[in-house]
Symmetry: C2
Subunit: 544 residues, 2 copies
């Protein structure tokens, strides 16, 4: 009877808030002596990681960090950034990892907007961080990650990460969150239309992401995972937590190059890695003499942009097993996967690669992954041709955008998260992205807002009008290509405009090609970007 | 800032109640044409299962079944019982599967106590069900499962399961629970001490159980799972839901015999199965000529009682890979696993079997699995000798006992669920059961583990199965009394077995009395020690 079934209250014994923090405790207890993290000459076991994390958390707490405080981190994929995925939330605080390629102005904006209470920065980025702090009036304390294997860089202030650990309390007592809906991480989007937005993750979502991933990827126990995905991107696709659950060995590196990836795979017996399609290109384009043959199967999870089928096929030919996934910062990373189907076994390699470039079906923890008509909201037919917008519902959809109730409302209020990506559904139910609804350029896995680049170009005194679109690029996937109308009599050149951009924005965002031309416009004066996109494609074909 | 992080409300887009029902929808959408269930000559694909389940749910709804109603089922491991794991909760109702070996009086008690609104019964059990209904005044409607491959039996009334499906609505609309804490299943314990208690499961727990199991067992996609575990026991260890998540093929059978298990493995390419140690014994004792050699690796999850190391070793020698797990009805089934450790690879087969008989460490979704001192509640040292009680905390601990607030309170109020099992923790953190607390034999002030004595008896080549209980003794308080099943034609005697024990253990632990008999077992193959304990008491009275 309903009343009898409802008579039970939740108790400590039978209702524990879900949190990825529980994975570290479990794995360190069961496999204390197994290697957890490898980076250059350093190695830590799981008990050492737990010890360092507890000491660090106690040090943060001693500095006043606690429930609901933001701790901002600007660091490379070293053991420190991995450890911070535990140490910061262990205090109840929220981990805000910042894209290390951003310019000081945007970093300053993020530090301010996120209400950061403390900054932890690798000295490799101390130049940018110093300038950002200066812009904000130098009010934040900094803990410096000084890495002998890094490129050096000045300290900001005197505090170092290792000193915090050394002076920390190895017996630091902690407990998981009281509420699984509690904020865990804050990840800023690249700000496609104006300012970056702060995406808030909670413990429940990260836990479920970590539980769903091994099932989707058929992860065995003790994978050797090479961390080529920047941990500042969706917390490295939440793999920092997933790999702890699997008692993996995590190989860290600052250098994502073809040679180095092959070397690390060989040195450490890497079995799994992740990366944007550009990482696949790197592997494919590594000269034969720099390639170490693979000893066993190496599985790659790729995401960030639809990978070209040719690259997929070439990667497979090298012996890698690639699974494409799809997701956004707002969905904790991957929420769909191009799940392999047995009936594909007999197809040609080219046919397989074509199918594998689809975005596929929802992950186990994704409750709904669909393509809907933007007007009516109803699912598009499974005909492989009717376009709609990808929408997602599930527990790995963000809480919302930090301090942006209107954007949150816009993104979530219709019962699902609207991705902004246009796609079709094939007769087997698999989703394939067709185009971006927003004008995002995805270059080497990084989102570049065309609006932002245009904004900088418009700052140049000789530029009348500029429009930026994606140009296909073999190496980077896409690069920004600018179409510009100049003032009469201007002597600006392609080189001088690119140099101007470089001064005003992160290097990777600058246009790689500039075309001087009259911009095609609609009757009402709107620029016809689709015309420019076609032109950029033509240029790409001509030059490739 | 705390307030800013707390400003988000849960929305449909980002907060979906966890429920195993979502697995069926996902798997049927992605793999509609894959074989889901095989039973004798019947086969259903995942889309057929979904269709049947929806029709069935609509039929239940038409009969007035809805939120919080109990639907009791007495059925064998056929496709119907699997389907009911979805059809009943799809209506919001609670699935109450009843042990098919119970006598009419207990079935009547369960039907009454559970507030059952409807009974679904295989005609194989219509004799028992009729009597039980009669005892309760015949107030409940019955739907009959009429299985051409079953042993027959009369219909109770006129309604049949297939007619409900035939007349059901294939477009039945359903949605998951509004609250993941909503009741999903009601499983009565075997009631070794008095009346059976009704253990209530919720959707959240079953979902997490299903997500944690593939990780712990390293389940690949599309396992071929032979359902030898009765689905009425902890919902077949929740594998009914787990296997749907993995898009498995589930092989059903009524006949769990060595011959038949070998035949089904060979016929269908079974890769995984589960079972009590008695199933292992069956496999080991199947005559050579009835055994089909295994084509590939077959993994067995075993639970229900600590398996004797000798049986483990023999099963392994046949080519099976056995993982022992431990759990109780109150914990949805398995919550600990004897997780394999790489350092065991080099041990002898006997040493490995000995270690594999331990209960091990918590599952991924188990938040705490510990052994505590019964007085102080603090964890016992990891010394392999100090005994305490196994306690469990996590989201796969029951809501409580149905309509038994006092028992619920007793079981859960100390921050964990108290198992009633006595165990030690070894220096590597692995838990080993020493006994049910009530099975410990206290002889002359010394604790004797009945499990240990049984382990020695199982090493004797002529012993098929042995159970040891306390026999009251004037001098020692209690002494071990063994009940033993011998191989056919064995000439072993009480004296020779006692002598064998004396060679292999401390003298005070050896059985003082041995009775050759067939052991009384429960439906799930557990030995009914309370029956033996009574018998030992009778023997003691007769001889004193």
């Amino acid at each position: 009877m309903k009343e009898n079934y409802e008579a039970f209250s939740k108790q400590t014994a039978n209702h524990v808030p879900l949190s990825p923090l529980s994975f570290l405790e479990r794995t360190a207890a069961i496999f204390p002596d197994r290697t957890a993290v490898i980076y250059e000459d350093r190695k830590y076991t799981w008990s050492e990681v737990l010890d360092r994390v507890k000491r660090l958390a106690s040090g943060l707490k001693a500095r006043g960090i606690g429930l609901g405080d933001t701790v901002s981190v600007m660091a490379a994929n070293t053991p420190e950034l991995f450890e911070l995925h535990y140490a910061v939330p262990l205090t109840g605080a929220v981990l805000n990892t910042i894209n290390t390629r951003l310019e000081p102005e945007t970093v300053a904006y993020i530090l301010d907007h996120s209400d950061a209470r403390l900054v932890i920065a690798d000295t490799a980025f101390s130049g940018v961080v110093s300038k950002a702090l200066e812009l904000n009036g130098n009010t934040l304390p900094v803990i410096n990650i000084k890495d002998a294997d890094g490129p050096g860089g000045d300290l900001i202030g005197a505090q170092t990460y290792e000193a915090v650990i050394e002076n920390g309390d190895p017996d630091f007592c902690w407990q998981g969150p009281d509420d699984e809906w509690q904020a865990l991480a804050l990840n800023y989007t690249s700000g496609t239309s104006g300012r970056p937005k702060g995406v808030v993750y909670h413990h429940r979502g990260a836990y479920l992401m970590a539980m769903g991933t091994p099932i989707a990827w058929e992860l065995p126990r003790h994978p050797v995972y090479l961390y080529t995905v920047p941990m500042f991107h969706c917390n490295g696709w939440c793999h920092a937590w997933t790999m702890t659950l699997m008692a993996a060995t995590i190989v860290c590196t600052r250098q994502v190059t073809g040679n180095n990836v092959f070397k690390l795979i060989s040195d450490h017996g890497v079995t799994h890695l992740g990366g944007a399609p550009i990482v696949l290109s790197m592997l494919v384009n590594t000269p034969d003499e720099d390639r170490t043959p693979l000893n066993g199967k190496v599985k790659i999870m790729t995401a960030g942009a639809p990978p070209p089928a040719a690259i997929l096929a070439a990667t497979k030919a090298l012996g890698f097993e690639v699974m494409q996934v799809y997701g956004l910062t707002e969905t904790y990373g991957h929420v769909s996967q191009c799940l392999w189907r047995e009936e594909w076994n007999d197809l040609t390699s080219a046919e397989q690669a074509e199918l594998q470039s689809w975005q596929g079906v929802g992950f186990p923890m994704t409750e709904d992954f669909d393509v809907v008509n933007r007007e009516s909201g109803s699912p598009v037919p499974w005909d492989g041709s009717t376009q709609g917008e990808i929408v997602i519902r599930g527990n790995t959809v963000m809480k919302g955008y930090y301090k942006s109730p209107r954007s949150t409302q816009e993104a979530l209020s219709e019962g699902y998260f609207k991705s902004g990506d246009a796609a079709v559904r094939h007769p087997n139910g698999y989703v394939q992205i067709k185009d971006r609804l927003k004008d995002v350029i995805i270059s080497g896995g990084e989102n570049i807002s065309s609006v932002e680049v245009e904004g900088v170009l418009h700052q140049h005194p000789d530029v009348v009008m500029a429009a930026v679109v994606a140009k296909p690029d073999d190496k980077w996937g896409e690069v920004p290509c600018a179409f510009v109308e100049l003032k009469e009599g201007s002597s600006a050149t392609e080189e001088s405009l690119i140099a101007f951009c470089r001064e005003h924005m992160a290097g990777f965002k600058r246009p790689k090609k500039i075309v001087f031309t009259e911009l095609p416009k609609t009757a009402t004066g709107k620029i016809q970007k689709y015309v420019l996109r076609q032109e950029a494609r033509t240029i790409a074909n001509e030059t490739s």
